[in-house]
Amino acid sequence: MVRKSSIPGFLERYSDGVDSQESKERRGGMSSVVGCQSMDGTHVGAPIAIDYRLSTFDEVMTTAHVDELVSEFAEKLLPLTVRVERVPTSERAAAVLSEFSKEIGAPGLVIAAELTKLAPDLMTSLDSSGISWLTPADVAASRDAPLGISLATLGVAETGSVMMAEPTLADRAVGMLTKTNVVIVRTETMVPSLVEAAAALKALALQPNGGYAALVTGPSRTADIELSLSLGVQGPERVMIVVVDALS
């Protein structure tokens, strides 16, 4: 169905494969800042129409450029009140985070431990911007914290979902219990459809002890009373996605 090498970001963590040069080449070059509400206001690329019923990863990737995947991803999240920003580097990502935390008045950040390990440059940049942050030691650390930063395994253009598969419960809680959740998605992990996401989810599930994962699509919501939409009923009230081209 899906070639293993199709999902590089995922494979680094759960599988023995490595990203092939071929699939990197197919993705082509990336423009610097693209998204539905990018920092400098650019909006690049119309969403492409993908026939999800027929799509396999290989088939789609030959025609769909990764920029278009990011655009489509952002397009799907637009009606769900999710802000999507695409940045080229960890430095720019840190700038977005620090600006956003000032905007919402968050005194400090709770950052998934996995992200701090994987992106030391991001941490250095955050430190130099004077933002205080901590990694959660347990679930309670995230309870009603104003701003939490998580790392997605991959992003799904078809639905605007992010796959969350945090290695620890404490990291998982960042996306469940904070008031505002910023999710970092690496550009190279953007996949066209749920089919590729399912391949990654399945590989995780087939680990000897299984695993816990979720596809998260927008902020927590309910419409239980008169179908009137309320956000943040149990999970985060606000979700922002930062797509980073070269996370380091």
Binding site: M1, Y52, R53, K76, V139, A140, R143, D144, E158, T159, G160, S161, L169, R172, A173, M176, L177, L194, V195, A198, A199, L201, K202, L204, A205, L206, Q207, P208, N209, G210, G211, Y212, A213, A214, L215, V216, T217, G218, P219, S220, R221, T222, A223, D224, I225, E226, L227, S228, S230, G232, V233, Q234, G235, P236
Partner: protein, 753 residues
């Protein structure tokens, strides 16, 4: 409705009331619901919004393709239930989670209790699970001092209000903000707004927050069990499912065995169709996949049978195992809109509730609610698992009738209808007896006490002075001439199946069909010995008389096919066509001989509209007339939902006749006729009728066209009773008028030339 004996009423009581609400009978619940105007308002708003959201969300997928795939996947499960179950269990157990089998509700409750007792837990944070409602978990555990707190917002509201969920997906959608606000002010220690929904939601959020941290056990349901990896797929929008399955140290999953899916491919299909069907979302906010326990935590998985294996063993009902609990069947159901799931269903509500309840809670629990289905088939159209819900509900109805019998008047009615001599006699007597109350084509009785409830809001049709079979004789002897316009039906021979209503109430519609067909160069025969097709008996659960009438019909049609070469059997009644072409095959499923005969006939049966569209294929503009006419069209349930007609009648009127068709709102919604439904539930029938007529009038058209005699009778009766000026016509009558106009123009032109 028949008057229930006290013993019957006692059995009818909602035995599984989870919240200790005073137990009520069906009749009491029905009366309460129908006299609460706010209830229908709340559900109507919900159904409207859902329909719009659902249709919009389906725009970027192929619904039919998706549901075909889901059907294949679910059929694999029901074809090899134990094989997939074993695969799933082995994959779960390898992760260190514990798997339990619960044969019934008691067993499931006991397992949960024992896990709680082992861990000394007296507080459970639970996310939404219909299985927990099915087994009455909250109530049963409360008896042992274990407090189960519902953490889904809607579910929490109904729990606090001492109610049960009225809908599979939206437990509290029968309530408005004022009602929720009043409840919150009663149960919380702080004042909460009666109008600000956001404030209400956040008050409940604050209430629930500590529960996740204080609970020793978190419980969830499952939306799918993926066999190939032992994964539980769970869908929520609020995020309470993730919290319930993550924060407390022990996680218990309750799942019905029918939730199995073979592979992740199938899970993708379910994801794509579930959110869209349930809430009109491309994907619900949190789709969680749990394979084994979180490190350091425990996970227990309880697989619940509780009647499912019996469902699985019955060929009539095995498809109900394919349900993914999206609630769509309730969201399109016309009677549901008026009474809510507290009346339309038992614990499981909506059409699927009418089907599965007997397996979980016994036939008595659904004996009364099942009578609320008016067989409009709207549910089957939107069901993502293509469950033949309307047919299954009729099979449940037949079981109820077999057990409890039919009410006297119905029994007598069908016994008469099934015997041609008795039917003729009854119509003779009827045509005399109706005279004192007859006003033109109607019988009015709104001033007579015993008839008042039935005729105040719709006049009954008067029996025609002479039946169609007498009137049509002369017309049939006329030799068929050249067609007035070239068409594909010219030269064909058609046997007319008028249906009993056309025969006795509206013979002019039968004549119109003959007139149209003859004008198109079709030879028409009117088979001898036709009576009723059996639909009224079949829809009332009277299998005995349904079979009798079906056999008579098959014999009569076969006889006429024997002598002459008949190309098609055509009827102006979409309902009769659905019965002949679809229902007979199921009715005779255990009698191969009759089934074969029914299937052979079914291939020749066509409704009038399809015949003109598919066979005659009249060229566009070939029968346009002088005056611009404006009509509106009511899609009859059988025409649109059973036969799949939608564009066909419009093509005919718009393209061929050049008539402007202005669409009425909710054009495929039932008019409220439903055979004897109007007699059983006049209050609901009246509301549906008036909604339909209001919508028709709002178009500004003075003519309402449709393709089914039942609807016509109902709609005309409603117009007469309310003094509405709108005219209701069969599409054949519209065609016949145009053909007459066309012929006289041709004749005049011919003379002048």
């Amino acid at each position: 409705m028949s008057v229930a004996t006290p013993a019957e009423e006692a059995r009818d009581v909602l035995a599984h009331d989870p919240h200790g609400e005073p137990q009520t009978t069906f009749s009491a619940r029905y009366t309460k619901a129908i006299s609460n105007p706010r209830l229908a308002k709340n559900i109507t708003r919900f159904q409207h919004t859902w329909r719009g959201n659902r249709n919009r969300s389906m725009e970027d997928v192929q619904f039919e393709e998706l549901r075909k795939h889901l059907k294949v996947a679910k059929t694999k499960i029901t074809d090899d239930l134990d094989g997939y179950l074993n695969q799933f269990i082995a994959m779960v157990e390898r992760t260190g989670a514990t798997v339990y089998h619960a044969v019934d509700a008691d067993a499931a409750n006991r397992i949960v209790r024992e896990i709680c007792e082992k861990h000394n837990v007296n507080l459970i944070a639970k996310s939404k699970s219909m299985v927990s409602e099915e087994i009455d978990l909250n109530h049963r555990l409360a008896e042992h001092g274990i407090d189960v707190v519902e953490t889904d917002l809607g579910e929490w509201i109904v729990q606090k209000g001492g109610e049960r969920p009225s809908h599979i997906v939206g437990p509290a959608l029968h309530l408005g903000r004022e009602e929720v606000g009043a409840l919150l002010n009663r149960v919380l220690d702080r004042p909460v707004s009666l109008t600000d929904i956001d404030e209400q939601v956040h008050a409940i959020r604050d209430e629930l927050r500590p529960v996740f941290f204080n609970a020793g056990v978190g419980m969830t349901g499952a939306n799918a069990l993926i066999a190939e990896s032992g994964t539980i797929m769970m869908v929520t929008n609020e995020g309470n499912g993730r919290l319930s399955s993550s924060v407390p140290p022990v996680h218990i999953v309750l799942a019905g065995i029918e939730k199995l899916l073979p592979t992740w491919d199938d899970a993708v299909t379910q994801m794509r169709i579930l959110g869209r069907s349930a809430t009109g979302q491309r994907l619900s906010v949190y789709t969680t996949f749990i394979t084994g326990p979180t490190p350091g935590h425990e996970m227990h998985l309880i697989l619940v049978d509780n009647g499912r294996r019996k469902m699985h063993s019955m060929p009539e009902f095995v498809d109900a195992m394919h349900c993914i609990r999206c609630g769509a069947c309730a969201n399109v159901c016309p009677p549901y809109r008026e009474v809510s799931g507290h009346v339309f269903g038992h614990i499981y509500t909506g059409a699927i509730g009418l089907v599965v309840t007997q397996f979980h809670h016994g036939l008595d629990a659904i004996a009364k609610p099942q009578s609320l289905c008016l067989s409009c088939n709207a549910c089957e159209i939107v069901c993502p698992s293509s469950i033949p819900l309307p047919r299954q509900i009729l099979d449940i109805r037949k079981m109820v009738v077999a057990k409890k019998g039919l009410p006297g008047p119905k029994r007598l009615g069908f016994a008469t209808l099934a015997r041609p001599w008795a039917f003729v006699l009854a119509t003779r007597i009827g045509s005399q007896a109706q005279r004192p109350l007859q006003r033109g084509r109607f019988v009015r009785g709104r001033h007579i006490p015993i008839l008042k409830t039935q005729t105040r809001w719709r006049s009954m049709p008067a029996l025609a002075p002479r039946p169609l079979r007498d009137l049509v004789k002369r017309q049939l002897t006329v030799a068929t001439g050249a067609p007035i316009v070239p068409n594909g039906a010219a030269g064909k021979t058609v046997a007319l199946f008028p249906g009993c209503m056309t025969e006795r109430l509206f013979p002019e519609q039968g004549l119109a069909i003959v007139e149209v067909l003859q004008a198109l160069g079709v030879r028409v025969v009117h088979p001898e010995g036709l009576n009723c097709c059996g639909l009224p008996a079949n829809n009332s659960g009277d299998e005995l008389h349904a079979r009798m009438m079906a056999q008579q019909t098959i014999r009569a049609l076969e006889k006429s096919l024997n002598g002459t070469k008949i190309d098609y059997i055509v009827s102006g009644s979409a309902s009769c066509v659905a019965t002949l072409a679809q229902d007979y095959s199921h009715l005779f499923r255990y009698e191969p001989g009759w089934k074969q005969r029914a299937d052979a006939l079914a291939g020749k049966v066509l409704d009038f509209t399809s015949f003109l569209d598919q066979v005659a294929q009249l060229p566009a503009g070939s029968l346009t007339g002088g005056d611009a006419t404006l009509v509106t069209y009511h899609d009859s349930c059988q025409g649109s939902n059973a036969l799949g007609l939608h564009e066909e009648p419009r093509r005919l009127m718009r393209d061929v006749l050049g008539i402007e068709v202005r669409e009425l709102e909710e054009n495929t919604l039932c008019c409220g006729f439903g055979g004897s439904f109007g007699f059983d539930y006049p209050a609901i029938s009246e509301r549906l009728l008036n909604r339909k007529l209001d919508n028709a009038q709002a178009t500004g058209a003075m003519t309402l066209v449709t393709d089914n005699q039942g609807c016509i009778m109902h709609l005309r009766g409603g117009c007469d009773a309310a003094g509405r000026r709108i005219q209701v016509k069969h599409i054949a009558e519209v065609m016949a008028e145009r053909i007459r106009e066309h012929s006289s123009t041709v004749a005049e032109n011919g003379e002048s030339a």
